[in-house]
């Protein structure tokens, strides 16, 4: 915002190498699903990740990012993957299992043992800092 920068310096690009979901983000926004982006995909990504994007849109793409196996549900396996990425595998499997179970317990409205988009959006609706953290600044 307000920053008229058109060329990325290597440092700036490096700066985004720390996101644990960077590969997922690239995959979700690329059309071939492998993370190879066209210009349009890139534009898509930044239109979603900008501060102006509405909550629903962000939630929708966040859901896709966390849905690792692309089955339209965040199932316990996806949650485990998320956990491992977030904590760099520093928690024991029991702890990961406990957390996943808790998350499903909390957010699963229709009791099918996995989170659908509705569940996810309902949960995100209450999140206080989802909007403030789910965007990228350039």
């Amino acid at each position: 915002m307000g920053n008229k920068q058109t060329v990325f310096t290597p440092e700036q690009l490096d700066a985004y190498q720390d996101n644990p979901f960077r590969e997922r983000i690239a995959q979700v926004f690329s059309q071939d699903g492998d993370g190879n982006m066209t210009l349009d995909d890139f534009l898509d990504m930044f239109s979603v990740m900008s501060e102006m994007a509405p909550r629903d849109l962000k939630a929708y793409y966040a859901f896709k990012i966390y849905d690792f196996n692309n089955d339209d549900y965040i199932c316990p396996l996806d949650l485990e993957k998320t956990m491992i990425k977030l904590t760099r595998g520093e928690l024991t499997p029991e702890e990961v299992g406990l957390v996943c179970e808790k998350v499903i317990n909390e957010a699963d409205v229709d009791n099918d043992g996995k989170l659908s988009l509705d569940d996810f959006q309902n949960m995100i609706l209450h999140a206080p800092d989802f909007l403030s953290t789910f965007h990228i600044r350039i």
């Binding site: 307000g2 509405p54 977030l86 957390v99 996810f120 999140a127 206080p128 800092d129 965007h135």
Partner: protein, 934 residues
């Protein structure tokens, strides 16, 4: 479900779907679905949304057909007509014909070409898959046209036979068409406006946008019937320009926010909590700038420009005794000498009612500015607190999603620094561990007596510390009063108070932290306690300081009478002496020689300025020594040291958010207290905030490391604001007290010669306003009026409070209702699923009965237990039978039964009951004899 098609469908239409669905006339929809998708079970049929998610080409066709309510209306009209014509025709066949009927009429209105163009966007919108879309579209179109032609022929036959639509009917239809097109245009506009919110790929967005724009441009003019075209174009152009202007203006505004980039850089390195301090600092700078503008613009500049020049009257001249040293740096450093007799302090101002050619009423302005400084600050603080609270209530209430929030929203996508990312990973891990431990230990009991004892002990120790520091300050202030009477005091003795206060401020917080380790609180609660204790320490110190200062003031006031007499007599003698020889008119006594009072207001002002300046210095030196030098030492001595300095003991320092924020708050309190007696103090503070902004930004970026535990800034923000409000109120008290009760000095300041400072208002009212105003004021100031007013205010507060409580209660009740609704939804869903399963099982059961009866007749009693061992096989066989009999009904419900196992829903219906319902009533003798594992 094939995931790929489902996926595509969800991408395309998940948002537009519900609205489209709501336009369906329900019965038709239901029947249509029955006919179109025999695979679906009844449960799915009732739940329209769910059913419609299943992708099928027919579904798409039906979905796109009904476009608008008016369309529906027309359709019902037509169906009525058709009903007359053909009696009860079956609904399925009627739908495409209606569609064609509508189309035909549209063609009549717009002509063939235009219509096909207008239809394009429809088709374009309908297609979900972009890559294959074009060819498909062409094919579909040609097919459609083909079918249309056929139908048209049919229709012509129909319409030529008995009932002929008359012309008025046509007109009304044309009007309806217009309305429909209008609606479509509106819809397209809506699409253009909300295209940003659609989860489509960019190519699709662009395409849809262009189509929508083309459509709107095409039909907007047609609807305006020519006369409004130009005006409309003008309006659109202005609208576009306005939007562009707004966007530019917003960009400009963000560019105008000072230090935005700096703060963002810090945010990306240190997370939002450290950035929140700098945002707070910036906010404070803004507030202080306004205060500075008020005071400088309305008090200092008028006095300097229009008041009596320096050296003209005693209060603006340095006394003879101090003249020699008045320019020494050591004197100036203590804000004595020239600085004391400058416009920075209260004593400099003259008590002339009006000054200059503007007849500016300076004393009045001085008083009003002093009041409005507090008024403005209160207003700003409360406003920002209210907005914060609104934000927090608007977004918060997620107590039941702790783990979900941690999992899905804890990663800060803004982080753009490996170190911060490492810390974020660590903090996420620790927070997960913490919540796991919380979860596990929520029922676990600890040795509660030991904890209680330790907490009481810790509080006792801390109270001792606070009392000790309070006494120390009191003692030091008393001693400094003695020192001030003596001559030849050393530098230490002169600055003892400031030094002791700074030292206390430096060493007590770590001490508190050590003691707080005894208490074993949760760190978040511990932080609040810590903040509260530091706050109490600072506050206690400040108030002790104030009390001591007040003693000093009272002492000076007691002496004032004597000095007043002396001054009076000196002047009297001087001028009487001049009476002796009339020939030489003696020049008036030089102002430097006139004996003066001590002017307690200036003394108070000087104390506050000194305190502020020493605070600034201590802060800066602490940063320089504690952060920068430490960082340099750790960085460069690490090459030649026995242990790893960076990871080991000294390491780099973290940014102390709570300490810095509290320091800022107390500094602001000092400014508020001191600004009445030292108008220049706000200027000093503005400079301080400006320099500390740059200095601290630099220090943070150069020599601090990000926190290991990052606590949420957004939540503690209002806590800081609350502290600020408290400090504001507490700093208002002493100022108000001095203004209301102490008489101003007789020979310095704008209120000299008056009994009380607020007399200036009375004076102005009496002299400058018509008499009735002063009468009104007299009535208003009557206690008989003030007390009821206060009572009324208290009542209003009580009323508003109870109203807000009631609203809050209503809010919670609504929330509960929503919760209950959700629960009900859950139950209904599962009941439906159960019912479906049950019906399925019933059919099974019937078949089973038949079969088992057959088998029993064939094989006798032995085989009963046998065939129960292979129920699955039988089931499969049955399924095949039924599916061949009833179409594709069963596989779908089977799938449903498999994907939604009724097990976890046992809480919904009594488990035993469901269980018994689910189990098919198999041959009763088998239950007794067969294996009980079933």
């Amino acid at each position: 479900m094939a995931p790929s098609t489902h996926w595509v469908y969800t991408i395309g239409n998940w948002r537009t779907l519900p609205s489209a669905m709501s336009r369906f006339p329900i019965p038709e929809h239901g029947v249509g679905w029955c006919l179109l998708c025999p695979l679906l079970s009844c449960a799915d049929l009732v739940d329209g949304k769910r059913a419609s998610r299943k992708p099928s080409p027919e579904a798409e066709a039906t979905r796109d057909k009904p476009r608008s309510p008016s369309n529906r209306k027309k359709r019902t009209q037509e169906s009525r007509r058709e009903g007359k014509e053909g009696g009860s025709r079956e609904i399925k066949a009627s739908t495409p014909q209606r569609k064609n009927n509508v189309r035909r009429k549209q063609r009549e209105v717009f002509g063939e070409e235009e219509w096909s163009k207008a239809e394009k966007p429809w088709n374009g919108k309908r297609k979900r898959d972009r890559k294959a879309s074009h060819r498909e579209q062409e094919e579909a179109k040609s097919k459609e046209k083909h079918i249309q032609r056929k139908k048209e022929k049919q229709l012509k036959k129909h319409s030529s036979s008995p009932s002929v639509p008359n012309s008025s009917d046509e007109e009304s239809i044309a009007e309806e068409e217009m309305a429909r097109i209008m609606e479509q245009v509106e819809e397209k506009k809506q699409v253009i406006a909300t295209i940003r919110n659609k989860p489509w790929p960019m190519v699709k967005k662009l395409e849809v946008l262009r189509e929508a724009q083309a459509f709107v441009e095409k039909f907007e003019g047609a609807l305006g019937k020519g006369k409004g075209k130009k005006f409309y174009a003008y309006k659109m152009m202005m609208n576009k320009k306005w939007i562009k202007f707004k966007r530019d203006f917003n960009n400009f505004k963000t560019q105008c926010i000072p230090w935005e980039m700096k703060i963002k850089e810090i945010e990306s390195h240190f997370g939002s909590s450290v950035a929140s301090y700098f945002i707070f600092l910036r906010w404070m700078y803004g507030v202080n700038l306004v205060l500075f503008g008020l005071i400088f613009g309305l008090v200092i500049i008028p006095e300097v420009l229009m008041g009596m020049p320096y050296g003209s009257i005693p209060r603006k001249t340095i006394p003879r005794a101090e003249e020699e040293k008045a320019m020494d740096f050591s004197v100036l450093w203590d804000f004595e000498g020239y600085i004391k007799y400058s416009a920075l302090f209260y004593g400099y101002y003259n008590n002339q009612r009006t000054i200059g050619w503007l007849k500016y009423r300076l004393p009045m302005a001085y008083f009003m500015v002093g009041v409005s400084v507090f008024g403005y600050s209160l207003m700003v603080v409360i406003r920002s607190m209210a907005s914060n609270a609104q934000e927090s209530t608007g977004e918060g209430n997620g107590d039941n999603f702790t783990f979900s929030f941690k999992m899905f929203t804890s990663w800060d996508y803004l982080i753009g620094n490996p170190e911060t990312a490492d810390n974020k990973y660590a903090s996420i891990t620790t927070s997960f561990k913490e919540s796991i431990v919380d979860e596990q230990e929520s029922n676990k009991e600890e040795n509660i007596h030991l904890t209680r004892f330790l907490r009481v002990l810790a509080n006792f120790l801390i109270i001792c510390c606070l009392c000790g520091s309070g006494y120390l300050i009191y003692f030091v202030v008393k001693r400094s009063q003695e020192f001030s009477k003596m001559q030849n005091v050393s530098w230490y003795e002169r600055n003892e108070v400031e030094i002791v206060m700074s030292l206390l401020g430096m060493f007590c917080p770590p001490l508190f932290e050590t003691i707080a380790a005894l208490e074993n609180y949760h760190p978040r609660i511990g932080l609040k306690w810590q903040l509260g204790r530091i706050f109490a320490l600072f506050l206690g110190n400040l108030y002790t300081f104030l009390l001591a200062l007040m003693d000093d003031v009272h002492l000076k006031l007691a002496n004032e009478e004597a000095i007043k007499n002396i001054t009076h007599w000196t002047l009297f003698n001087y001028y009487n002496a001049s009476m002796w020889n009339e020939s030489v008119t003696r020049p008036p006594l030089h102002p430097a020689d006139v004996p003066r009072g001590s002017c307690w207001e200036t003394t108070v002002g000087i104390e506050f300025v000194r305190l502020t300046v020493s605070d600034i210095l201590v802060t800066f030196i602490t940063i320089l020594l504690g952060d920068f030098l430490r960082a340099c030492f750790v960085r460069f001595m690490n090459y030649c040291w026995c242990w790893d300095l960076e990871a080991g003991f000294p390491s780099y320092s973290e940014f102390d958010i709570s300490g810095n924020v509290l320091g800022l708050i107390f500094n602001q309190g000092m400014i508020w207290m001191g600004s009445f007696y030292a108008p220049g103090l706000v200027g000093i503070n503005v400079l301080r905030l400006l320099t500390s902004m740059y200095f601290q930004c630099w220090a943070v970026m150069s020599s601090n490391v990000p926190h290991e535990r990052v606590f949420k800034a957004s939540k503690s923000n209002n806590f800081y604001m609350g502290l600020l409000l408290l400090v504001l109120f507490l700093s208002l008290l002493p100022v108000a007290y001095t203004i209301m009760t102490l008489p101003p000095s007789f020979d310095c300041g704008p209120f000299s010669g008056k009994n009380r400072m607020y007399d200036v208002i009375q004076e102005t009212i009496e002299n400058d306003f018509p008499t009735f105003v002063s009468k009104i004021f007299g009535y208003i100031a009557n206690p008989g009026l003030i007390i009821p007013a206060i009572l009324l205010m208290a009542l209003a507060i009580y009323y508003l409070n109870s109203v807000s409580k009631g609203l809050a209660r209503a809010n919670t009740q609504l929330r509960k209702k929503i919760q209950a609704l959700r629960e009900a939804e859950k139950t209904s869903k599962s009941i439906k699923a159960n019912a479906a399963v049950k019906s399925l099982q019933d059919t099974f059961a019937n078949n089973f009965k038949n079969m088992s009866q057959l088998q029993t007749t064939e094989e006798g009693n032995k085989s009963k237990s046998d065939h129960q061992n292979h129920p699955k096989k039988k089931e499969e066989g049955d399924t095949k039978n039924i599916s061949s009999g009833r179409g594709m009904m069963l596989p779908a419900s089977l799938c449903l039964a498999v994907t939604k196992p009724p097990g976890p829903r046992s809480g919904v219906a009594p488990p035993g009951k469901t269980q018994s319902q689910l189990q098919p009533p198999r041959s009763s003798p088998g239950r007794g004899k067969g294996n009980p594992g079933q």
